[in-house]
């Protein structure tokens, strides 16, 4: 130990070393971010668990069994994501995402501005249940022919090209499984005994997603008004009707229905999530090869974030870090603005999940140490961190959807910076607004 901080236990120092290591590795990406997550769990097991190398018998710290750290890999929220991944990958396999896109785009007519709105709504709906990246990639295949049919100088080409990644980033906040930062935040809340039902999350976050979608639409149209009057969409394509495909459609509908009605029947979303995994594999709609192709590294990434939160809480590190700053001079809204602003800025440069993983332990301990108001305060700051992390869409490196859009060459980075910054700032203001006028009344 090179440095020693008064008031911080030995375990706290070790947890801090792990936290700093994770922060540095995640920031500089010297090793893949999912690999840093596994390293976090590995070091926790060796350094902080009851079965680890360090003898804690003479100090106050009561080490957790190592199973607690490795159990993060099968945390309920991870199982929920696993269910979501299986549904999403099976949808891709049977082109359900494309069929749904064709169906949902139909009512949007032929005026470019409404077509852009339609594209954004479809993207957001899909990305609320599938990965933002896969949704963006699919929608890129939809907009390439559209853009090809527009005049070369039409500003709306930029609007179309940016509408997809922006809508995908925004759509991710709408449900717990929309994007990984939601998982990290929900898991951290669960550890404090605060359960977040699928439907409750949607009640908190979907309204803000809808408003932001409209905001993004207006911003894009104002900055890049369409010159064309009419645009026809080619919505040809067939719904797959094989037995396996139909099993998928039914399973998909049933799972989503059970998820969004969790508040009514009370069956936990992570339990419901096992149903598509079981049904789709037993019916061979989803086979061994498909299982191997699931994005397991995303689950690792989330697990590492959850584990980091556990050690910071258990060793008292999070509380110590929070208490070393005198927060009393900050007002309630200032605190939320600070966390939201930091999350927004950080996640423009770092992975959204990493941002949430680094900030949420601190945010939660603000609530537990009495600086925020109990469960509602904890919930609010959790939402602020998760949503702000997802509203970061200024640069190509901010999110994979942004990177894909820029890589197509259909839009320049400078256009993304302008509209992404406006959307980010409005998003943050809206989050803060929600935390005074909406969430306090429903939490």
């Amino acid at each position: 130990m090179v440095l020693s901080f008064p008031g911080l236990s030995l375990a706290g120092h070790l947890a801090m070393s792990i936290f700093l290591m994770a922060a540095v590795f995640w920031m500089f990406e010297t090793i893949p971010i999912y690999s840093t997550s596994i390293l976090v769990i590995f070091f926790q097991v060796i350094l902080l668990s009851a079965e680890g190398f360090i003898d804690y018998s003479s100090v106050l710290y009561e080490p957790l069994p190592y199973t607690q750290f490795i159990a993060t890999l099968a945390d309920p929220i991870i199982i929920l994501f696993l269910g979501g991944f299986v549904l999403a990958d099976a949808s891709v396999k049977y082109d359900f995402d494309k069929s749904l896109t064709r169906l949902l785009l139909q009512p949007f007519g032929s005026q470019p501005k409404f077509i852009i709105l339609g594209l954004m709504l479809v993207t957001a709906v899909l990305s609320a249940f599938m990965s933002n990246t896969a949704t963006t990639a699919m929608m890129i295949t939809v907009i390439i022919p559209i853009i090809a049919r527009m005049e070369p100088g039409d500003p709306a080409r930029i609007a179309v090209a940016l509408s997809i990644p922006f809508a995908a980033n925004i759509g991710g906040i709408a449900t717990p499984i929309g994007t990984p930062p939601n998982a990290v935040v929900i898991a951290a809340l669960n550890q404090q005994g605060v359960g977040v039902a699928f439907s409750s999350w949607m009640i908190y976050a979907t309204p803000i997603a809808i408003i932001m979608l409209v905001v993004a639409w207006v911003v894009l149209l104002k900055l890049h008004p369409p010159a064309m009057k009419n645009l026809t969409l080619n919505l040809d394509g067939k719904l797959k009707k094989s037995r396996h495909a139909i099993i998928l459609y039914i399973t998909f509908a049933l799972t989503v229905l059970l998820w969004v009605t969790e508040g009514l029947h009370g069956i936990r979303s992570s339990i419901v999530a096992l149903m598509p995994v079981a049904v789709l594999t037993l019916s061979s709609s989803f086979d061994k090869e498909d299982i191997r192709k699931l994005p397991w590294e995303v689950l690792w990434l989330i697990a590492g974030g959850i584990a980091l939160g556990i050690s910071m809480k258990e060793t008292g590190l999070a509380e110590w870090m929070v208490s070393s700053i005198s927060w009393d001079q900050f007002g309630y809204l200032m605190l939320l603005a600070l966390f939201g602003g930091v999350a927004l800025v950080m996640s423009n440069f770092l992975s959204n999940t990493v941002t949430a993983s680094l900030l949420i332990p601190l945010a939660i301990s603000l609530a537990t140490s009495g600086l925020l108001d109990g469960v509602a305060g904890m919930m609010t700051i959790g939402l602020v961190v998760a949503l702000s992390a997802s509203f970061a869409m200024v640069l190509p490196i901010s999110t994979p959807p942004n990177a894909i859009a820029i890589s197509t060459g259909m839009v320049q980075t400078k256009d993304m910076i302008v509209s992404g910054s406006i959307i980010g700032v409005i998003g943050l203001i809206l989050i803060l607004l929600f935390s005074i006028i909406y969430w306090p009344f429903i939490l």
Binding site: V92, S131, T141, P295, T353, P400, A403, T408, G409
Partner: protein, 166 residues
């Protein structure tokens, strides 16, 4: 993109070489183009590119060359583990059936372009073959997306290749 993917053009007639390179110049910003006028020179270039840890994504090769002929060179590349991944195209007016069959069977020839060619035809073939190469051999296809078949690359990402949510 430290590791570059090269396009190699082998053609002994300077005019023809020029016009091939001119036709495919839209790829050059992302895929540097190297030129050789004999199989021997091509071998040296290949060695140099590989020694610098770069790759050869595509070779456009004439058949009739002074010294070793084009098919000879392609078969040789196919037998080398590193260059067997390179997409191989014959661009020629004079390869006989026997040699062409050999190029298909032994060099995994991907395309035969007979002279004279249309610019669009050449550009399309180059785009498709480089897209093949990138999707098979590169972990992150995004940096190449702009000059390649974006739809195919997007489809690849949709199916779980390349980047994922983070």
């Amino acid at each position: 993109m430290e590791q570059k993917i090269y396009i190699l053009v082998v053609e002994d007639e300077p005019d023809v070489l020029d016009s091939i390179v001119r036709d495919i110049s839209s790829f050059e910003a992302i895929f540097p183009i190297e030129m050789a006028d004999t199989a021997e020179e091509a071998r040296e270039l290949i060695q140099e590119i590989l020694d610098n840890d770069h790759q050869i994504g595509l070779i456009l090769c004439d058949h009739v060359l002074p010294g070793d002929n084009g098919v000879e060179l392609l078969v040789e590349m196919q037998n080398n583990e590193v260059t067997s991944k390179t997409r191989k195209v014959l661009i020629t007016g004079q390869a006989g059936l026997k040699e062409t069959v050999r190029a298909v069977n032994e060099a995994d020839l991907k395309h035969y372009i007979s002279k004279p060619w249309q610019k669009e035809e050449l550009v399309d073939i180059v785009r498709e073959l480089l897209t093949d190469y990138v999707l098979r051999n590169v972990k992150n296809p995004l940096p190449y997306m702009q000059v390649l078949d974006s739809e195919r690359i997007a489809e690849f990402i949709r199916k779980g290749g390349g980047p994922t949510d983070n």
